[in-house]
């Protein structure tokens, strides 16, 4: 708030910095604090504050800034002129803040702006070179920063936060270290800290006018709290390190963030939480978790850190355990933190032009005249406007009443854009209230054709009719059915497109409804998921696959839970003849294909997910389905099931079933009965679920049993063995620690791999080989799998020799079964070397992949009665084995 006030030129600089900062982080990860700084800017009384310009592009949209500083232009500036500017922007690929400021500089002819622009660019340049930037800042702001820092330090010290000093130091080291290193976000945090200082210097005298303007007192408080924390950290690091090189002293040099002891935790529980401490500790914990091997405190496990982090998150943000777990399962810790931070801040106010009554340009002009400052929402929408601030109530202007626009979240544009209704079609909106999407559909259809707006809740019907009337929509029938009954009412195959914006748990719109933080549990999610499946099936039944123009269903939720999103779609993929098609939306993250122990159809990558922290939209999910045939898929589905059970799963969607097949390897052959149990069709999660628990630990006797049967079921066995090999390979490449008690490494890998992917399973990796292999193993997942498959075929062809080798290996190591496993791995390794497949990087992983395969062969051989004891030993011991073969194989390589 105070930043821009400092005095004209420094103010400029202060403004420039965070702008550059958020640009540097660009679209993906502006760290939350940086975002906050940016947010506060517009209220900072920038000298040139006026009404916003109007251009078709809003390059800033995707950045997580709650309020963007935008190029200011005079109120009466002609739209044409602005277009020019926008053209400039458009031509410039960067299209970022610096440029916009420059454009503005030209327009206003202000010298200040020119300078500013230079500043901006400097900053930006520095931003790009994080390390250097850090140093520079230290240089030119040394004195005042130092001062401010000292002050801050004192103040904070007096506050007496009950923080023991080494913890503080540890965190300082963490914070300081981050700045210089290669991590973008951390660097920005560093800078953030400096910002905070400058700001805090003046904050006392400048607060009042701006808080008033800011309207977001709560957010501000938070912001200030954080600033204080950051400033303190920064100040301390300045004091300690003198600013430059010292700050780079890194955690990996030995400074370690200390987890609070159990007593401390207890003590904290009894006392009211000190949020500043908690916030700092969260940051530090995240930093540790990001580079666990180097930053952790000796003897502390990841679990302990995670537990502490969860406690802190619960304290700081007020989520319940379920929500925290869900976020942490879905994101890396750092990203989860970002998301929660983003959830604290409201999304920008956006509105959609009603193209039935006006055009965006005219509407913007009219609103600007009323003292609303707005901008186009971005290049992806022709009708959206984002409102920065307004002097009049934006929901009660004459234009609003006359139906020229609809106030609606940017996220709710997406499903309709994905639906892309065409004129003269028949479209159903199955859950229509309050009519935002329905009116958008009608507008896209130019009031032709038919729209059925259904809503089950009587109380919400009024809002639909109200909005339809207001926006002048005349092609809509509003009805009040349960979505599931609609098929009976309208008839199967009666419509061209259906939009199902399903009722959901709302875990994506926490910023709108904070009660979600505490009110949701796994049961709620499953309940929602169940309803959503019913509705989606109903929606698909409504659609006519033979429609000339349509045949589409768009499924969207404002939840980020996989159980409500991909799992639902995956379920209907099995139940109906539909396929997932690209949504046509330009951005958003791909849907999950694998999430923990879920495995979804690969086409689900066409679905789109949106997150508050990444896209500055509410968290939601959009998936577009094309109906292929009007037949109901039931029979085929059952066939599929049977196929799978028989072990003859088609090679058509290997990727999807590979995991399944791999997971089912052991039980599927011998006891087909197990499958329906372990993978019930009506499993609450409804996905192809890898039955990790149930089959994870067959006892040795059972294993032998299986082996015998496996030998009998050779054909099926080979395939599944291959899958298992692929899995094992992945596993081999990944950390081994969890695997020790699991007989079937492949299955364990399936679950764990997904759960921990990106979470640094490497940290727990057994050896260098495993670590080296991991990256490539991840990258080459499917390739590796196929490769392993192919190899197995070859291997099978050359089975005689192989068996000889395996037998030899088994014979070589009867003294101890571990060497036996090693020997097998060796055999595999040799073969690998002979095959000469894979880049050097991938070799360890590939070799590791081969190892279990060899094992499988050994097992098969055992089934045949050759080298029975050796083989069985190898199999039984494979618990211990996987850790070994990898290094062994690696040695072999050399």
């Amino acid at each position: 708030m105070a930043k821009a006030k400092a005095a004209a030129p420094p103010a400029k600089k202060a403004v420039g910095k965070p702008a550059a900062a958020s640009n540097g982080a660009a679209n993906k990860k502006a760290p939350a604090p940086a975002g906050k700084v940016a947010k506060v800017q517009p209220a900072k009384g920038q000298p040139m504050k006026g009404d916003k310009g109007f251009s078709d592009h809003n390059a800033k949209w995707l950045k997580l800034k709650r309020k963007q500083p935008e190029p200011e232009e005079d109120e009466d500036e002609e739209l044409e002129g602005e277009e020019d500017e926008e053209d400039d922007l458009g031509s410039d690929d960067l299209g970022i803040m610096g440029d916009e400021f420059s454009g503005e500089g030209e327009d206003d002819g202000g010298e200040d702006d020119g300078e500013d622009e230079e500043d901006e660019e400097d900053e930006e340049g520095e931003e790009l070179l994080q390390g250097r930037e850090f140093v520079d800042d230290g240089d030119d702001s040394d004195d005042d920063d130092g001062e401010g820092g000292e002050d801050e330090d004192d103040d904070e010290g007096e506050d007496g936060e009950g923080l023991d000093t080494d913890e503080l130091e540890a965190m300082i080291a963490a914070g300081g270290g981050e700045g210089g290193e290669d991590e973008d976000e951390e660097g920005e945090e560093g800078e953030e800290g400096e910002e905070g200082e400058e700001e805090d210097d003046d904050s006392d005298d400048d607060n009042d006018p701006y808080t008033e303007a800011e309207q977001q007192a709560a957010a501000l408080d938070k912001f200030r709290r954080q600033q204080a924390a950051l400033a303190k950290r920064e100040a301390a690091s300045m004091a300690a390190g003198g600013g430059d090189g010292e700050v780079d002293l890194h955690l990996d040099e030995g400074a370690v963030f200390t987890l609070p002891s159990g007593q401390q935790v207890e003590a904290e529980k009894s006392a009211p939480p000190d949020l500043a401490v908690v916030a700092r500790r969260m940051k530090a914990t995240v930093a540790v978790l990001e580079n666990f091997a180097q930053r952790r405190e000796a003897g502390r496990s990841r679990t302990e850190y995670l537990a502490q982090l969860k406690r802190d998150l619960a304290t700081y943000y007020g989520y319940n355990e379920f929500m925290i777990d869900m976020y942490l399962n879905m994101f890396s810790v750092a990203e989860a933190l970002e998301l929660m931070e983003a959830n604290e801040v409201p999304r920008p106010v956006t509105l959609r032009t009603n193209t039935l009554k006006t055009r965006r340009r005219e509407l913007a002009a009219a609103l600007i005249q009323r003292g609303v400052s707005l901008d186009p929402i971005g290049p992806w929408s022709k009708v959206g406007l984002v409102v920065y601030e307004t002097k009049v109530p934006i929901g009660a202007t004459p234009e609003y009443m006359a139906g020229h626009y609809m106030l609606q979240g940017a996220s709710s544009f997406m499903p309709v854009m994905a639906l892309a209704p065409q004129p003269d079609e028949t479209v159903v909106d199955m859950a229509a209230a309050p009519g935002g999407k329905t009116t958008y559909i009608a507008a896209l259809m130019r009031n032709t054709g038919t729209v059925f707006a259904n809503e089950i809740n009587k109380d919400r019907l009024k809002s639909i009719t109200g909005n339809l009337t207001r926006l002048g929509v005349t092609n809509t029938v509003v009805c009040n059915y349960d979505g599931k009954e609609l098929v009976q009412v309208l008839g199967q195959r009666s419509v061209d497109r259906v939009l199902l914006d399903a009722p959901c748990s709302g875990t994506g719109v926490v910023s709108k409804d904070p009660s979600v933080k505490t009110s949701k549990s796994q049961q709620d999610i499953w309940r929602c998921g169940h309803l959503q499946k019913q509705l989606l099936l109903s929606a698909i039944d409504l659609v006519d696959a033979n429609s000339a123009t349509g045949g589409y269903v768009v499924y969207s939720t404002c939840s980020v839970c996989v159980e409500e999103d991909e799992a639902v779609v995956n379920y209907v993929l099995r139940k109906r003849n539909v396929k997932v098609v690209p949504t046509g939306l330009e951005f958003g993250r791909e849907g999950f294909i694998r999430y923990r122990d879920f495995r979804f159809h690969p086409s689900l990558k066409h679905a789109r997910r949106f997150y508050p922290h990444a896209h500055n939209l509410d968290g939601f999910f959009v998936c577009k389905l094309k109906k292929l045939s009007n037949d109901i898929k039931r029979d085929k589905d059952e066939e599929d099931e049977e196929d799978e059970e028989a072990g003859g799963s088609g090679s058509g969607d290997e990727e999807a079933q590979g995991a399944k097949a791999g997971g089912k390897k052991a039980p599927s052959g011998p006891k087909p009965v197990v499958i329906p149990v372990s993978k019930p069709k009506s499993h609450p999660k409804g996905a192809a679920r890898v039955p990790a628990k149930k089959v994870a630990e067959p006892d040795p006797a059972e294993a032998e049993d299986m082996e015998a049967e496996m030998a009998q079921l050779k054909a099926a066995m080979q395939k599944k063995g291959a899958a298992a090999a692929g899995k094992g390979g992945k596993k081999g490449g990944k950390g081994k620690s969890e695997e020790e008690d699991k007989e079937d490494g492949g299955r364990a890998a399936a679950g764990k791999g997904a759960g921990t992917s990106g979470r640094g399973a490497a940290a727990a990796a057994a050896g260098a080989a495993a670590e080296a292999g991991e990256g490539s193993a991840k990258k080459k997942d499917s390739k590796l799998y196929r490769q392993a498959m192919k190899e197995l075929e070859e291997e099978r062809a050359a089975k005689k020799e192989k068996q000889g080798a395996a037998a030899a290996a088994a014979a070589a190591g009867p003294s101890s079964s571990k060497p036996a496993a090693g020997g097998q791995a060796e055999a595999g390794g040799k073969k690998k070397a002979g095959g000469g497949k894979g880049a050097v990087a991938s070799e360890p992983a590939a070799a590791a992949a081969v190892a279990p395969k060899a094992k499988a062969n050994g097992a098969a051989a055992a089934g045949k009665g050759k080298a029975a004891d050796g083989g069985a030993g190898g199999k039984g011991k494979s618990a211990a084995a996987p850790a070994k073969p990898a290094p062994a194989a690696k040695k072999q390589k050399k």
């Binding site: 009219a366 929901g395 009660a396 004459p398 234009e399 009443m401 006359a402 139906g403 020229h404 028949t426 038919t450 059925f452 019907l461 009024k462 809002s463 639909i464 009719t465 109200g466 339809l468 009337t469 207001r470 002048g472 005349t474 092609n475 809509t476 029938v477 509003v478 009805c479 009040n480 059915y481 009412v489 309208l490 008839g491």
Partner: protein
């Protein structure tokens, strides 16, 4: 949902006639895109025939709205235009008045139009006839009934009512339940 009876049709047309005069013809005779009037739970809808046919699938108690709701029939059989009819009658309106920006919000809050807020008025508007009210940007805001003819308007007290309020866009916010 059912067609209007003779009496109901008469009531509706009489009311519409006040606002759009002979232009009613344009509402009914649309060879390319035939429209009809339908009654559903006291509300009169003006709706495309195609849409109406599709809506016949929907049970009466489940059908909430279709096409454009132009008004309500009261218990006594009178017809009252609602704000939904604004789009329709503003297209064909015979008499219009424009209000000054200062009086715009006043009208949108449900007040009558005073002479002081009157910016323009169609020539030769008689007293006690239906008019559509626009703001200076030609956005229709609502409709009402003139209290004075154009000539009388020229020389009346600034506080005199020029147009009685009947319906305005503000109702979308104030009275969503009654739409």
């Amino acid at each position: 949902m059912r067609p209007l009876t003779e009496e109901e049709t008469k009531a509706v047309f009489e009311k519409l006639y006040k606002f759009i005069g002979k232009n009613i013809k344009n509402l009914i005779d649309r060879p390319n895109d035939p429209h009809c009037f339908r009654l559903q739970k006291n509300k009169v809808f003006y709706v495309k025939e195609k849409l109406m046919k599709k809506a016949t699938n929907v049970a009466r108690d489940k059908l909430v709205a279709l096409g454009t709701c132009i008004g309500k029939l009261t218990h006594t059989g009178k017809f009252r235009l609602t704000i939904g009819a604004l789009d329709l009658i503003s297209q064909y309106a015979k008499y219009k008045i424009w209000v000054k920006p200062s009086a715009e919000m006043q009208f949108l809050y449900g007040n009558n139009v005073l002479k002081s807020g009157l910016a323009r008025i169609t020539e030769n508007t008689p007293a006690y006839t239906g008019v559509v009210i626009y703001n200076m940007a030609d956005i229709p805001l609502g409709f009402g009934v003139t209290a004075k003819s154009t000539n009388e308007c020229r020389n009346v007290d600034p506080n005199a009512v020029v147009t009685f309020h009947q319906a305005d866009c503000g109702e979308f916010l104030r009275a969503e339940d009654e739409l």
